[in-house]
Symmetry: C2
Amino acid sequence: MLGTGTVGQTVGGKLAGLGHDVCMGSRTPDNEGAAAWVERTGEHASQGTFADAAAFGNEIVVNATPGAVSLDVLHAAGADNLAGKILLDISNPLDFSRGMPPTLTVCNTDSLGEQIQRAFPDARVVKSLNTMNARVMVDPGSVRGPHTVFVAGDDHVARWQVKQLLLQFGWRGDAIFEFDGIAKARGLEMYLPLWLALRGAIGDRPFNIKVAS
Amino acid sequence: MLGTGTVGQTVGGKLAGLGHDVCMGSRTPDNEGAAAWVERTGEHASQGTFADAAAFGNEIVVNATPGAVSLDVLHAAGADNLAGKILLDISNPLDFSRGMPPTLTVCNTDSLGEQIQRAFPDARVVKSLNTMNARVMVDPGSVRGPHTVFVAGDDHVARWQVKQLLLQFGWRGDAIFEFDGIAKARGLEMYLPLWLALRGAIGDRPFNIKVAS
């Protein structure tokens, strides 16, 4: 698990609760947030540097860092530690430097998901879960009625494995909408301004969108 | 009704069918597509230039032109013909010049809806219906289950009047999600890449998204 923020702690906690061994990576091996998370999570939880965490994740590496720093973090994690692995990219390229609402650091003709796949061609990047807040990611039942989680990536086996993880999180199979191609990350990231507008109108209540057809 | 394409013909036809008098505007007063639409629609339908149509619309002017030409069309329609009126903006700033899928001509730090409101400060711009195809706009029952239409604009009375129109089109009151501020057009337009990805995966079947909370 790369990232010690709300997404990293929530998704990492869910994974550990399901019995997966999780190493939370940060810039320093003794990050206080990660230490508190390890203490709170108990069994199956450990911490280390980004490189430690990426090396530890022999099945899947999760990018839960802020999009603005994700490429730097992944370089710190090391291409060798990512090669051949599934890289579940939950990040959004939000730029808070211009004030609120945030804009995107990349969009329209490219996406962060694509940039990550290009920068780490041996990783199997799957974009998912970036279109909702952390609680909804691991507790889809917190939203009333059916709703949708998207999965986009070039590698269909990697997409399938991420789908298995989503099913473990409690997502229904018919709630998972799969896109063939990491290029679809563009649409998933450019949805963020609408998500932010919805967040502003709805408030703290868990919400999501459902594809109806 | 500004625009003679599928959206203009479909929404114009629905309006005329509901008993509203509709003038379809185009660059020339004798546009063949508009003429065929008038012939087909019969009662309540007429045609003219963009300026004719904007002058005709004493309650509401609808921008159903391609986003790449919308500002030019609205200038041709004339600021005087738009002043004080509701300008329902259905357009999307799609740029097909770079190939498929289209990109956006404006996004992230601005939107076409905002550009239109700035260019025509005396018009009461309301962005709506741009997040679905023409059939779904006027036949929400074509999509199975509940789904959402967004309404964004600075003027709450204008938003209210657009909502009345949506109710006439068959939208349920609880399907209408209202945003205070035309700046939210940014999110509604930046949703298009996701819509295009969904369109590619779903095909011709009518679809939309629902906000679930």
